[in-house]
């Protein structure tokens, strides 16, 4: 048999692949990471809030040197209707002390920096190369076929860290075709503004403090969509993620959606006068726990978005990618001691993930995608009722408060129905238990 070129080959240099590569390289394992972009990060997009703790565990105090934008001290949720906005959220000085909870980032810069750390740890990063298929021997994965001339590379184990458009797990039959209910399309713009203007508009005292706004509500017309506005140092990241099935069903163009969001009376003052610097799009695997593929095969493991590890409610993805990459690398290191890379040995990766917060969190929300698919009105009806009720309470028109309350209760009865309210509360409670 042909000699191995590497012990481990990782496909994709996003956070998942880089984390796996880092752990392996630190253990002196001969690892290559294959990336199709000109450099790691050049093809990657996220909203961009990066949670510190999973990476801090690998590279302590990384935030002191990594290219980050602002640390986040306030997180808000805005419920929009066409003409109104109801806001909830938390600003805390506890988020304003090192080592910080999370940061806004640009992936093109952040991934590039992370990749440098990984190659400094002596992993080999091969850019501008696409892995086209797996090389199998008697059903076991033994290498990858790239689009380079004579581009076959052999190894003990391949780790698929290809992100949401992964096809290697499918080629092994670990999952079926991805369906339009399990993925969202995210579109985003980076809008440049002077940092002083951003500080004033978002109520922070200097250019390292940041704010996030998550946007939902009746404005999206029962679409499973979320908008966001995040502060960077000299720009805002403004975007929308919408489930693809809904985009198709409602014949929506994602750029039109983003444009109308930017013109909403609550968003417009935030972005006004800014200049768009970049427009981008990427899919988000939002199907949750039940949409995950089988995560291992003989000589093969799947990490990050390729494994559908995204917690869309908390917009966590990059940190789950890092955590899963770490656990896959540890599994390899264990398996290597016994020289056993069979699926039985690699199934320990699944166990590690189950014991970590990654799958514990995905399990907590496992029924949510289905619930929202069946009851799309939950995202619009209740926030709409809340906005209308608040409007009544604040609107002083010489109607006594007691009558207003009666009015609001009547509206609840007529527009939603007491019985439906109880049923909805029960089903949400049952599904989140």
């Amino acid at each position: 048999m042909r000699k191995n070129d590497f012990d481990v080959i990782i496909v994709g240099a996003g956070p998942a692949g880089l984390a796996a590569g880092y752990v392996l390289a630190k253990e002196g394992i001969n690892v290559a990471i294959i990336e199709r972009g000109i450099f790691p990060g050049s093809k990657n997009v996220m909203g961009g809030i990066f949670y510190r703790s999973s990476l801090d565990d690998l590279i302590p105090d990384f935030y002191k040197e990594a290219p980050l934008e602002r640390h986040i001290i306030e997180q808000k949720v805005w419920f929009l209707s066409d003409d109104s906005m109801f806001s909830a959220g938390l600003k805390s000085e506890r988020y304003n002390v090192e080592p910080y909870n999370c940061f806004s980032v640009f992936r093109a810069k952040f991934d590039k920096w992370f990749a440098k750390k990984v190659s400094d740890a002596s992993a080999m990063i091969i850019n501008e190369t696409v892995v086209r298929e797996l090389i199998l021997k008697r059903g076991k994965v033994v290498g990858v076929r790239t689009d380079r001339p004579n581009g076959d590379l052999y190894c003990d184990v391949v780790i698929s860290a290809e992100g949401v458009n992964s096809f290697l797990p499918k080629s092994l039959g670990l999952r079926k075709k991805i369906n339009a209910n399990n993925v969202a399309l995210g579109v985003k713009e980076v809008i440049e503004l002077p940092d002083k203007v951003i500080n004033d508009r978002f109520g922070v005292s200097n250019s390292s403090e940041g704010v996030t706004i998550e946007i939902t509500g009746p404005y999206f017309n029962e679409m499973r969509a979320m908008g966001f506005v995040y502060t960077n140092r000299n720009s805002l990241s403004v975007g929308i993620g919408a489930v693809i099935e809904d985009l198709v069903r409602l014949k929506m163009n994602p750029n039109d959606l983003l444009e109308t969001l930017k013109s909403h009376p609550a968003i417009k003052p935030l972005v006004s006068g800014g200049e768009t610097k970049e427009y981008m799009a990427h899919m988000i695997p939002e199907g949750g726990y039940y949409s995950m593929p089988k995560l291992y095969h003989d000589g093969f493991m799947v990490v990050g978005d390729a494994a559908m590890l995204v917690n869309s409610i908390h917009r966590e993805g990059a940190n789950l990618a890092i955590e899963s990459g770490k656990l896959a690398a540890k599994t390899y290191i264990e398996a290597r001691k016994k020289g056993d890379f069979s699926q039985r040995a690699l199934s320990a990766y699944q166990k590690r993930l189950e014991e970590s917060f990654v799958l514990k969190d995905l399990k907590t929300y496992k029924n949510l995608p289905k619930l929202l698919e069946e009851k799309k009105y939950l995202i619009s009806k209740y926030p709409k009722f809340l906005i209308d009720a608040m409007y009544e309470i604040y609107n002083v028109d010489r109607v006594p408060k007691s009558e207003k309350i009666k009015l609001i209760l009547n509206k609840a009865k007529k527009e939603i129905g007491y019985f439906s309210i109880i049923k909805d509360i029960f089903s949400v409670w049952r599904n989140l238990r």
Binding site: G37, S42, A108, V130, D147, N179, L185, N255, K277, M283
Partner: protein
């Protein structure tokens, strides 16, 4: 802002030699209901010419999100060759 104007802001390394997007059976487009590819693509890559009864694919504008391949199984989708395609400055 129109999509066309936004696409000017994106860096691309265009592969002049080969398209990474295609249609396995162009006849399907003639009878396709609603032609979702023409409105869901965030980069406006697909457009349908009613007179010529033909779908045209402006593959250089593609940002490689993969959405078209989820909505239509007649689209043959693959990654551009290594180093080609979209190249973000921020991401």
């Amino acid at each position: 802002m129109r999509i066309e104007d936004k696409l000017y802001l994106i860096g691309y390394n265009i592969d002049e030699e080969e398209s990474h997007l295609g249609i396995s059976d162009p006849n399907e487009c003639k009878r396709c209901q609603g032609r979702p590819c023409t409105y869901v693509c965030p980069a406006g890559v697909y457009s349908y010419d009613d007179e010529e009864e033909k779908l045209s694919i402006n593959y250089d504008a593609c940002v490689e999100c993969g959405t078209c391949r989820i909505v239509c199984s007649y689209i043959t989708w693959r990654y551009p060759r290594g180093g080609f395609g979209v190249q973000y400055k921020f991401g």
